[in-house]
């Protein structure tokens, strides 16, 4: 557990970067600090491993005041990942990963084994270990950065916008793998980002900071979307927050209807319906066709409309609604975990399911700051 | 000061020949390094070869090069041509790389736009690439100018007259006035050439001074 206790940072030029921050990052959870630039999120993060010293207040790690710990020792026990990875350009990938174990004086063989193991763990092929950072893509460098932070198996990790310098597709991939890794490792993580979507996707708990370094609200992502504490938070979490909040609500039992299908390469039967779902031999949905256009011949690949997204049964309401809205037939395709068709659902059916679910009214995370509770009460 | 007052005429003459020995090679060197630099840019494979070979010439100490020149050119040791050629070699060695780098610093999209509008080979070089490379080339030229002025004074050792004579004579006869005059005059000449090149570069690149342009 990391605890910020009334922490303030005032720089010599008089700017206050962080103002009286009190916050707890619970053990084994991801706490995301998010906010616009100038909100002091990076400064807060860097005070944990004392890259920056607080002006007032204290930060404790599992009850121990970090200000009293040896600086280098403290840092070696905390994984640190930064935006541009900050790999050492003169060292190979494996040597980069082994940095902290070497500082800790592990023996060579053990360092090598551990580095190779981590290389694999972050999803990089073994042959990349002998390369230099300049030979890797941005995404690969970032993976190495994560591996380096994990090398000595620190219980705590600090991550400063680790995925913001890569393109959106790679970013999403890295985020997914990061969550999978965290499932296995259960580290106590403080994660800084300016991207609210990333915060909501990754955080077990999200702390929104405002310019000037004050804490606006801290809550679980779903709660944050449903109950922003004030206009600043509401504005920051964005306009379509109602829609995005649906991603935290698991689909209840939706009234799925059976769908008439045609297998690709066969002739459609009858012309009754305007849209017909095309599946493959394993009943996995491929797309929609208009039977009138196909006529009497077999359905070809070129006939397919692939516009619709596919929702997973038991997935989130957001997925179900999106499947319905994006389908040309207005019927959202729902599949099971193996990708086989289960049925379809209409948008109004998803909406009534939404109306039947409760909004998250209770924040299970640690402290709900001031206004949040009141606002929740007002709206109820 | 006394020494200068009674010898200002000599100092003037020596300054002129110093300017000649340092300046002419500067112009010749520039004229030669443009095609060389262009070659290095045009055929990327030749870049390393051109830069390495000119760089190697640069490593030869000046006094040695002055003395070797008659062997290569078949001239007499006292012939000022030795100095002119040696200085041109240094200038080319220094500028070829600068010209190549300067030409390569021209953004790709600019070159492509020029080609698309029908600029071909040489016209593109003189109409688009060289003008845009002026700031980089001018910076190299300034380094070459200052270094040329300093090196030329060494030619006094092989008997070619210029401001270096004041240094040599001042030292041999222990005349501080003469020695210091030589140092100061050489320094001033270097600064003068430097300023002229800087002004020339500014005049050739008016777009750099417009508000919003690169500083």
């Amino acid at each position: 557990m990391i605890r910020f206790d009334a922490v303030t940072k005032e720089f010599p030029d008089g700017t206050v970067a962080v103002d009286d921050l009190t916050l707890t990052a619970p053990t084994g959870k991801i706490t995301v600090l998010v906010g616009p630039s100038g909100c002091g999120k990076t400064t807060s993060l860097r005070m944990v491993n004392r890259m920056i010293e607080p002006t007032r207040g204290s930060i404790s790690l599992d009850g121990q005041d970090t200000g009293r710990m040896d600086q280098a020792e403290l840092r070696r026990g905390i994984g640190y990942v930064i935006q541009h990875a900050g790999l050492f350009p003169h060292r190979t990938v494996l040597d980069n990963i082994g940095t902290v174990p070497r500082l800790l004086g592990w023996d060579r063989k053990k360092i090598r084994e551990r580095s190779s193991e981590l290389l694999e763990r972050v999803g990089l092929e073994a042959h990349l270990g002998e390369r230099y950072p300049s030979q890797l893509s941005g995404g690969q460098q970032q993976r190495v950065g994560v591996a380096r932070a994990l090398a000595a198996d620190p219980p705590v990790m600090l991550m400063d916008e680790p995925f913001s310098a890569v393109d959106p597709i790679v970013r999403e991939q890295l985020q997914d793998e990061f969550l999978r890794l965290q499932d296995e490792l259960g580290k106590t993580i403080v994660f800084v980002t300016h991207d609210i979507d990333e915060a909501i996707k990754l955080g077990d708990q999200v702390a929104v900071l405002r310019v000037g370094g004050t804490l606006a609200q801290v809550a679980e992502p779903a709660y944050l979307l449903a109950h922003p504490a004030d206009d600043f938070v509401a504005d920051f979490v964005g306009r379509d927050r109602g829609y995005r909040a649906l991603q935290f609500q698991e689909t209840p039992r939706l009234p799925l209807r059976p769908e008439r299908c045609v297998v690709l390469g066969e002739r459609p039967e009858g012309r009754g319906s305007t849209w017909l779902l095309v599946v493959d031999d394993d009943r996995k949905p491929l797309g929609w066709v208009e039977p009138a256009r196909v006529g009497d011949r077999a359905v070809e690949d070129a006939d397919l409309h692939r516009g619709g997204t596919v929702a997973r049964a038991g997935g989130t309401l957001r997925g179900a609604l999106d499947a319905a809205l994006s389908s040309p037939s207005r019927r959202g395709v729902v599949v099971d975990d193996s990708g086989t068709l289960v049925g379809t659902v209409m948008a109004h059916e998803v909406l009534s399911a939404i109306e039947d679910t409760d909004r998250p009214e209770r924040d299970e995370g640690d402290p709900v700051r001031g206004g949040a509770v009141t606002v929740a009460g007002d709206e109820a | 000061m006394d020494w200068l007052a009674s010898n200002w005429r000599t100092v003037g003459e020596l300054t002129l020949s110093h300017l000649y020995l340092a300046g002419v090679p500067l112009l010749l060197g520039l004229a030669l390094s443009v095609p060389l630099g262009w070659t290095a840019k045009r055929w990327r494979g030749s870049y390393a070869a051109v830069v390495t070979s000119t760089g190697l010439l640069y490593t030869i100490p000046s006094l040695a090069l002055f003395v070797i020149m008659p062997l290569v050119l078949g001239t007499k040791i006292l012939d000022p041509v030795n100095v002119l050629v040696a200085m041109t070699i240094y200038t080319v060695a220094l500028l070829t790389r600068t010209v190549a780098d300067g030409l390569m610093s021209v953004p790709d999209h600019v070159e492509q736009a020029a080609t698309a509008m029908g600029y071909g080979g040489l016209r593109r070089l003189f109409g688009v690439e060289l003008p845009l490379a002026v700031p980089v080339i001018a910076a190299g030229l300034r380094v070459a100018a200052v270094s040329n002025v300093s090196i030329v004074s060494i030619a006094s050792v092989i008997g070619v007259s210029q401001l270096g004579d004041l240094l040599l004579d001042g030292y041999r006869r222990i005349i501080w006035g003469e020695l210091l005059t030589g140092i100061v005059a050489t320094l001033l000449l270097a600064l003068l050439l430097d300023a002229v090149i800087q002004l020339g570069s500014r005049a050739l690149t008016p777009w750099q001074r417009v508000a919003g342009g690169r500083p």
Partner: protein, 253 residues
Amino acid sequence: MIASLLDWFLDPANWSGEDGIPARLFEHLWYSALAVGLGLVVALPLGLWVGHSGRGRWVVSVANSARAVPTLGLLFAVALWVGPAFRGDLAYLVPSTLVLVLLALPPLLAGTYAGVEAVDPAARDAAQGVGMTGWQVLRQVELPCALPLLLSGVRTAVLQVVATTTIAALIGLGGLGRYLIDGIALGDYPRAAGGALLVALLAVVLEGMLALLQRKVVSPGLSGRAVGRSRNDDDAGTGKETAQEPVDLRAPA
């Protein structure tokens, strides 16, 4: 002319004794090494400090602008000024070495300073963040990363010093410059040209050896020699060149 030059090289008298080629070569190398060594003692810590702390940049600018002073003038002025204070060999060794060190300083300082300053701030930040002490950051990250530019500075300084040592024969120093100066003074062209060829050869060989050394000690990750990227690149974002081309630091004498 070529024939007489060849005769000079083939004359056994020129290969032995105090004025023999091996002795002069050794002197030349010794003076040069002394000057570059002393220069490094001053420039390395100073340049590292300026590059690391960002303070005292004026030191580098002052050293740089001092390069416009003509080498010959500097040599003579220092010889006249400092020389008389010493006796015997020291009377020319001290002023020569002083000038040689002064000339070695600007490229050494500029190279060290530029090298440290060019270290990726993210790498430095990460080094501190993983718990390296200040000394470890300097030793394990900053110095190796600064090496390409630092060694370029050393190369330039060595060439500058080797060239100037030749001219220092004018104020009585030994070394290969003796052949040139004495040859010219005596009108003995073969001797002067022989000396000139030796000096040129020495400069080129030293340059080549230093280039090899640079290849050997600079990490392939920095020199841009490690080429070729993974086939399964998951993005194409960072193809940036890491080869650090040295700034031209030279001014030959």
